[in-house]
Symmetry: C2
Subunit: 249 residues, 2 copies
């Protein structure tokens, strides 16, 4: 928690209150903060800044001298379409994608997604994981998250309208590597144009076991290129961070 995000309703005039018990515990136990100390805070959907602790009660911390003047960092121009992963790793994946600044997250069904994953209570806790990610990444704007339980209708009927420039799907068995793909794009562009502007605005990432050929082929019919990220097979979490790092750096 690198900042404490509060909803707009927590602010009145020049004061604000923390009611969330996880945030209160963080102030007390991790920061060991006391009355008079300054905290990094932010307003959800608003700006970032600081506040001074005026009072600490077990169920409520009162803040004063609220300064909210810093814009949140820019979002990545990126939609991640992620095959719904095991519930156990969903929390960290949502946190990481949020902290990295992904604009849109689509959780989609895939052949290798177990049906039971769609019944997981973790899917009811996405807002909580997003809040954790925003407080980690020091951002105030939540990504849009949508669920797509049917792969084929989504790809055939909706995908084309969502691709603003180009889309890729991460696939270890593709002959084309990510860097070859970006280089090919670059060779059609004026020199000195930054690679960043060439990057696709949408990336499909599989869960454990990846995509089956049928899925890769169906995505190809919508112009979505399959690219590999090297000979090594990574955990979904590692793969997401490795791939999204290309947009960050």
């Amino acid at each position: 928690m690198n900042c404490i995000l509060l909803p707009e309703t927590s602010f009145q005039h020049d004061t604000a209150h923390i009611y969330d018990l996880a945030q209160i515990a963080h102030v007390n136990k991790v920061l060991s903060a006391k009355v008079g100390d300054s905290l990094k805070i932010g307003q959800l959907d608003g700006k970032l800044g600081s506040a001074i602790i005026e009072d600490i009660a077990p169920d409520r911390i009162q803040l004063g001298d609220i300064q909210l003047t810093i814009n949140p960092p820019p979002k990545l121009n990126l939609t991640v379409v992620l095959a719904l992963p095991r519930p156990k790793v969903l929390r960290r994946l949502i946190m990481d994608m949020t902290a990295l600044g992904v604009n849109d997250i689509i959780l989609i069904n895939s052949y290798r997604t177990q049906k039971s994953y769609w019944q997981s209570p973790m899917l009811g806790r996405l807002d909580e994981f997003v809040l954790e990610g925003l407080q980690q990444g020091v951002d105030t704007i939540a990504p849009r998250i949508s669920l797509q339980k049917r792969f084929k209708p989504f790809v055939e009927d909706e995908l084309a309208s969502l691709i603003t420039n180009r889309a890729i799907v991460a696939h270890p068995y593709s002959a084309l590597s990510f860097s070859q793909y970006v280089q090919q794009l670059g060779s059609n562009e004026p020199p000195h144009r930054s690679v960043g502007s060439l990057l696709p605005s949408m990336v499909f990432i599989g869960a454990e076991g990846g995509w089956i050929d049928y899925e890769i082929d169906l995505l190809a019919t919508q112009g979505c290129a399959a690219v590999n990220i090297g000979p090594r097979i990574l955990r979904t979490e590692a793969a997401v961070n490795v791939i999204l790092g290309q947009w960050l750096l």
Copy 2:
């Protein structure tokens, strides 16, 4: 587990045996494999390939028709110096760095490393985490791992001899970004030379809370440049994968 790695002693002539209970459970429960099925295997420190299951007992699986002809993927020319993290995240960090192909891992003390971390029993299980990482990344060669409990003597007396080309330290508060750093290097090189060959061979990555100014300054005296990876602060695991992805892609 994308392949099953066995020590050299498990192989006799054209057969091999799996004795490790985690590997046996994986064959039975995750792969649901039966006698006659083919398995992806590898020999630790050797080659990758396949084998056929000849017999399954509760404490032992016998393999035949051993084919070990595939070289493991090349390692990254990279030493990661990681501030010893919380024991809870050490396992995944070692797994990920191993799966990504890091050549050398140095776990180092830092101001923000709690002393108790050095007493963790997790430090006695590094070989186990490395095996998990190799089986995830489909590699057979373990990274070298060393522990450095004292930051200052390491940096002052040993670091210079370990830097083969250049070193960086990831630091959110540096004014220089990773991509600016790489671009600066590139402007001194002939055009068309790939960025890969410019990348530093050593990277320092902090644990939660990062490095203090004293540490950054001491590293600078050895020519180690501080670079940021953007305005967002990432979990150590996410940061490691984001940063190392630059060597992979």
